[in-house]
Amino acid sequence: MVFFSYLISGISLGSVYAIIALGYTMVYGIAKMLNFAHGDVIMVGGYICYCAMTYLGLPAIASILLSMVVCTVLGVVIEGLAYRPLRQAGSLAVLITAIGVSYFLQNAAQLIWGVTPKIFTSAVSFPLPQGLTDLGISSEAIVTVVSCVVIMIALTLFVNHTRMGKAMRACSEDKGAAQLMGINVNRTISVTFAIGSALAAIAGVLLCSSYTTLMPTTGSMPGIKAFTAAVFGGIGSIPGAFIGGLLLGIIEAMAKAYISTNLANAIVFAVLIVVLLVRPSGLLGKYVPEKV
C-alpha cells in the first residue's frame, strides 16, 4: 500500500516532467537548439497564475488560461528577440544565449516578486472520495496525470495530422529544403515555441499546485530534470519525452522512498548516465552516425 502511494506520487511528478520535457523535445526537434530558459518559463507561468488568483481574484481556470497566454507570448518574444537573430550562428552561441535568457528571467522574477517564497494555493484541487485519498491519491495527481496524457495525445495528433505539423516535421529534417517547399521556417519555429511555452505554463501551475512553494528559482531544477527526461527518452521524440518523464519521476520517487532523500537526484542522474552509455540516443531516439 505504501509502495502504491509512492508509485502514484512518482507518476504524478513524472507527468509534470513529461509535460516540460515535451516542450524541450519539440523545440530541440524542430529548431535544433536546447532552450535552457524553458524551465524558467515554468516559473513565470506559476507566478502569473499565482498573481491572477491572489491579486486579481480570478477563478482557477481563468488564471491557468491567463498564465498560458502570457507564457505563449513570452515564449514567442524570447524566440524572436534572442534566438531568431542567431539562426545562422553556431549552436554554442544559441546555447549560451539560452542560459543568458534563463538568468534574465530568474532575476527579472526576483525584481518583480522578490526572493521570499510565495505560498501557492492549489489551482486544481477538488474533493475526492475517502477511498482514493486513503490510497495517497490527490486531486492534483489525478489532474496532472490526465493532463499529461491528453497533452501527449493532442501533440501527437497535431504533429502527424495538421499542416503545421507537416511543416514542423519538414523543418526538423531540413530547414533549407523546407522553405523551398513553401514552408515559412520562422513561423513554424515561433509556433513551436508558443506550444512549448503554453505547456510550460500548464506544467508550472501543476508543479506549484503539488509543491505549493513558488520562488524565482522554482523552475530551474524541474527544468533540468525534464531536460534529462527528454534525453533519457530520446530527444526530439514526443513519446520519448513522455516515457522519459514518467520513468524519471518514478525513479526519483522510489529513490527518495527506499534509498535516500538526499541521494535521490544523484540516483536519477546515475540512471541517466547508465542509459546513455547503453543507448546513446535515448530510449526511443534514433541513432544517427556522424557522416564523414
Partner: protein
C-alpha cells in the same frame, strides 16, 4: 490573384504519360525576367549583371565552369540569398521583399546539387510536404480528424501517387526516403519539387552521378515534365549531352557574369565559351 490562378491550374494538370505537343509560347510574356541581378559577398562580386528571360514552357540551361556562380544564381532566384542589386520578375510580379517560402508559393521550385530530401520520412510524406500548401484545413480539423481532413488527405495521397508515377515510383511510396538508391532519391527530389505546383522548376545538376543510360532517361523525363505540366525548366548541368540535347536556350556563366546566351549551336560555336572551358588558343 496569380497564386489563386496557379492552384486552379494545378488541379487540371493531367499526369503524366501521354505526351502533349505544347503550343510554344515564347512570344508571350516570360515566366522569369531577371535584370541587372547581382550579389556581393564582402568585396567579391559573386554574380553581376545577370540578365535572363525565360519563356513559359522553355527548357533553359545554365552552364559554366566550376565556381562560376551557377548555384548562387539559383539561391538568388529562390531568395535564399538576398540580391544586392537588380530585380527578379516572376510571372510579371516583382519578388522584392519576398522570403523563400513565398517565392515557392509564387511558383519557383528547385532541387539541390547535393540531395536534400526529408530522409527520415517516407517517400509519400516527402511529396505530401510539397503538397501541403494546396491543402486547406484548420489545425482543429486535423487534430479531430474530421471528414474534411480525410477528404483532403485522400486527395493528397492520390495526387502524391500520381506524381510519383511520373518516374514509376508509386510502389516505393511507403519506403523511407533516405533508404532509396541514389538515382531514385534524385528523381524523388524532382517529384517533391513538382508537388509544390511550380511554374518554373530549377534543377541543380539533375544528372550528377548518373550513368549515360540514366541520363538519357532523365532527359526524356524532363521534356515529359515540361510537356505535361506546361512549365518552364531552368537547369544547371555539367553533362553537355543533356544540356545540348534538351535545352532550347543556354546561358553561359563565368566569374559571375554571363559570357554567352543562345541556342546549343550558337553556344558551341562561341569563342568566349570555348575559351572559358578550354583556355585561350595559343
Amino acid at each position: 490573384m496569380a497564386e489563386q490562378k496557379r492552384f486552379e491550374k494545378g488541379k487540371m494538370v493531367p499526369v503524366p504519360s501521354h505526351s502533349i505537343i505544347p503550343e510554344r509560347d515564347l512570344d508571350k510574356s516570360p515566366i522569369l525576367e531577371c535584370s541587372h541581378l547581382g550579389i556581393d559577398f564582402g568585396g567579391l562580386r559573386a554574380v553581376d549583371e545577370f540578365n535572363i528571360t525565360i519563356g513559359r514552357t522553355e527548357i533553359a540551361g545554365l552552364i559554366g565552369p566550376n565556381g562560376a556562380g551557377k548555384t548562387t544564381v539559383f539561391n538568388l532566384l529562390t531568395k535564399v540569398y538576398q540580391p544586392t542589386r537588380g530585380t527578379i520578375l516572376l510571372d510579371g510580379l516583382d519578388t522584392a521583399g519576398k522570403i523563400t517560402a513565398q517565392i515557392n508559393r509564387m511558383g519557383i521550385a528547385r532541387t539541390f546539387q547535393n540531395i536534400r530530401l526529408f530522409s527520415n520520412l517516407s517517400v509519400e510524406d516527402n511529396v505530401k510536404i510539397g503538397l501541403h500548401n494546396q491543402e486547406k484545413y484548420s489545425a482543429l480539423t486535423g487534430v479531430l480528424r474530421l471528414p474534411k481532413y480525410w477528404r483532403q488527405e485522400k486527395a493528397a495521397h492520390e495526387r502524391a501517387l500520381e506524381l510519383l508515377s511520373i518516374f514509376d515510383m508509386q510502389d516505393l511510396a511507403s519506403h523511407q526516403a533516405g533508404s532509396l538508391p541514389y538515382g531514385a532519391q534524385r528523381r524523388l527530389e524532382i517529384v517533391r519539387a513538382l508537388a509544390t505546383n511550380p511554374s518554373l522548376l530549377l534543377l541543380d545538376e539533375p544528372a550528377a552521378g548518373m550513368n549515360p543510360s540514366e541520363t538519357a532517361e532523365l532527359m526524356e523525363n524532363i521534356v515529359k515534365i515540361r510537356d505535361t505540366f506546361q512549365i518552364a525548366v531552368l537547369l544547371i548541368e555539367h553533362d553537355m549531352s543533356l544540356v545540348m540535347g534538351i535545352c532550347e536556350g543556354i546561358c553561359v556563366l563565368n566569374f559571375g557574369r554571363i559570357i554567352a546566351k543562345g541556342t546549343a549551336e550558337e553556344i558551341q560555336a562561341n569563342p568566349a565559351v570555348i575559351e572559358a572551358y578550354l583556355g585561350k588558343q595559343q
